[in-house]
């Protein structure tokens, strides 16, 4: 199993290289000139040319990329064109809040989604199942920003129960906990539906398999049959699907962070792109992709841990 993880880790290297390359090229095709952004609206052509030379933008593309890689290897992602802050420093201060938000969103939504999906599968076709399915489809169809605005308007503004802008402290402080509730409800709320639907399908598949009949024939209680012989096996595909979905959830995090002014990587990315802050945007792309890759790595390892057939 250790070897399996190392193998996966090695395979992540070319993926990461691809991400860096695509991120770099994306910035080339954007109809905006970093030198112009840097120089400001009143600069003369001479100044712009000088800045372009200074930033290395007059060199051929492959040289620029080589230089970018070289600096990246040394932990240097450049400085913001807008405010001259090193990109790495800015990223370091935003990764924590984003991880916090992801954690606070997933810690409750995944168990609830799995429980609802299992209940739906067990009582397939009954009223309970229909209610759960309707809820899951509705929950999965609501755009993140809309749910966020709804919560802000009702809980934050009308009832004035919880704060809804910014982060007021670490997760373990009371202030921090209050501050993360609404963003975590928003992001997690949109995640319950997909988790419930995937779990329902997977558990339904397993419930039809012979070993479930064997478990019942042994005289086991229904709760044990469902949890130990249906859900336990269904977790193998569910974990994979949840991993993939968490990748997409990073996109939802970008929106959630923007709506709630959460000081995370997502909001940083949106700000950088809107202000044409090229190095900063590239940096956020790399960090978000790294998150995606890491999640997939964890999923691969979990997969092997859950399925004994994968271990030998």
């Amino acid at each position: 199993m250790g070897r399996h993880a190392v193998q996966r880790l090695l395979m992540a290297i070319p993926v990461l290289f691809g991400v860096v390359l695509v991120g770099f090229l994306l910035m080339q095709v954007v109809p905006n000139d970093p030198a112009l952004v840097r120089a400001g609206p009143s600069a003369t052509p001479d100044v712009i040319a000088a800045i372009r030379r200074d930033m290395g933008l007059d060199r051929p593309l492959y040289e620029q990329f080589g230089l970018y890689l070289w600096r990246l290897a040394h932990g240097d992602l450049g400085v913001s064109i807008i405010n001259n802050v090193p990109v790495v420093q800015e990223l370091a201060s935003t990764v924590g809040p984003t991880l916090e938000l992801m954690f606070a969103s997933l810690i409750w939504s995944i168990p609830i989604g799995i429980a609802l999906g299992t209940a739906g599968a067990y009582w397939r076709g009954r009223l309970v199942d229909r209610i759960i399915t309707a809820f899951a489809v509705a929950g999965g169809s609501i755009p993140v920003f809309f749910l966020g605005l709804l919560l802000i308007w009702y809980v934050g503004f009308k009832l004035q129960l919880l704060p809804f802008t910014g982060r007021s402290g670490p997760l373990w402080s009371e202030e921090g906990l209050k501050g993360i509730l609404l963003p975590a409800l928003t992001l997690g709320g949109t995640f319950i539906g997909p988790v419930a639907r995937m779990t329902r399908t997977a558990v339904l598949d397993v419930l039809g398999v012979e070993h479930v009949r064997t478990a019942r024939a042994k005289g086991l209680g229904e709760f044990r049959v469902v949890t130990r012989h249906a859900l336990r096996n269904a977790l193998i595909p569910v974990v994979t699907l949840i991993g993939l979905q968490i990748g997409f959830l990073l996109g939802g995090a970008v929106v959630t962070e923007t709506v709630f002014s959460w000081p995370g990587v997502g909001r940083l990315a949106v700000g950088a792109i809107l202000s044409a802050d090229f190095p900063m945007a590239q940096g956020t792309i790399i960090v978000l992709s790294l998150g995606f890759i890491l999640i997939n790595l964890v999923v691969d390892v979990l997969y092997a841990a859950l399925d004994p057939r994968m271990r030998s």
């Binding site: 070993h211 009949r213 064997t214 019942r216 042994k218 096996n233 004994p308």
Partner: protein
């Protein structure tokens, strides 16, 4: 007649129904059977005749949307069809245990075989300690002649061969010393040599424990080797019942005769195996009258009009055919 002579299990007029938009369909349609103590009842029939659904009905495990619609299943004096779900769970595994056709898929691939056996024992003996259950599970593996059972205890099903898995299934089924074992096609998925080993094992375990066995199979060779009594099923009904000797030496229902004719025999030099034309009608398209008449070489007009009940031909030997005893019919034809 003393209590010990009474049959262990009696099935009386059992009907297993499936609700459909076109009304109820009977997969098992009025089956009555008896399983004597310490003996083996073979249930034979083609696929689709309702024999597996019958066994699931006895276990109270009919899948939705099916249900037992009528009849009783009596294990000694307990009416199983009248039990609560919790009461039925206590019978499953401890009173009646079951093994299935596919040893590949009948064990859960994500738990060790030891855990799965321990789990079966714990369900019926909440008081036992882990260490004791482990020891008993290893004993159970040893009883089904699995070599180095201590090591196998911690292995997963995919690490075992098909024959070994079926042995594990048997060990699991017998872990709580049931009085009745239902074996649904226990050897169909196995190699011939492994088949013989598993049948030997079942016979030895039966002699050792005195349990009764219901052996469900389409393989008449297996029935001939194992069964004391035989019930032949066709389209959800028992069409002939008797001792193994009755069925194999003096079959009276044309369907049974057809089945026997389709066993290949080494000593007979036949050009072609006999076969019964057509297939078992599905429960939603049963013919009028006798359910076998469209495929029956002896059918007459009366066969298309009335569904014949089981009729006693000699003590303990019954057939559901108006033309039985067939000797007379055959003579007329010749």
């Amino acid at each position: 007649m003393g209590v010990s002579n009474a049959p262990l299990l009696r099935v009386e007029g059992l009907r297993t129904l499936f609700s459909t938009s076109a009304g109820d369909i009977a997969a098992v349609d009025g089956v009555s059977l008896e399983v004597p103590r310490g003996k083996t009842l073979g249930i034979v029939g083609e696929s689709g005749c309702g024999k597996s659904m019958l066994s699931l009905s006895i276990m109270g495990l009919v899948p939705r949307p099916g249900r037992v619609g009528a009849g009783r299943v009596l294990l000694e004096d307990i009416n199983l069809t009248g039990l609560t779900p919790a009461g039925m769970r206590a019978v499953r595994g401890a009173g009646i245990a079951m093994i299935f056709q596919e040893p590949m898929t009948s064990l859960n691939p994500v738990h060790t075989v030891g855990d799965q056996i321990v789990e079966a024992m714990r369900a019926h003996d909440a008081g036992a300690s882990e260490a004791e259950l482990r020891k008993r599970a290893i004993d159970a593996l040893r009883r089904v002649r699995i070599p180095s059972p201590e090591r196998r205890f911690g292995e997963y099903p995919h690490q075992l061969s098909g024959g070994m898995r079926q042995r594990v299934m048997i060990a699991m089924a017998l872990a709580c010393r049931p009085r009745l074992l239902i074996a649904d096609e226990p050897t169909t998925a196995l190699d011939v040599t492994v088949q013989a080993q598993i049948l030997d094992l079942l016979r030895d375990l039966q002699a050792e424990t005195g349990m009764s066995v219901i052996l469900i199979t389409h393989d008449l060779g297996v029935v001939a080797e194992m069964a004391d009594e035989v019930a032949v099923m066709y389209a959800g009904r028992v069409v002939e019942r008797g001792t193994a000797r009755d069925i194999f030496e003096d079959p009276q229902h044309p369907y049974t005769i057809g089945l026997l004719g389709s066993i290949p025999r080494i000593e007979e030099d036949r050009e072609r195996l006999l076969s019964i034309d057509g297939s078992v009608p599905p429960p939603f398209a049963l013919p009028q009258g006798c359910r076998f008449h469209p495929r029956c070489p002896f059918a007459i007009r009366a066969c298309t009009e009335k569904d014949p009940p089981l009729r006693e031909l000699s003590p303990g030997h019954q057939a559901a055919c108006i033309r039985a005893p067939v000797e007379a019919v055959v003579e007329c034809l010749v």
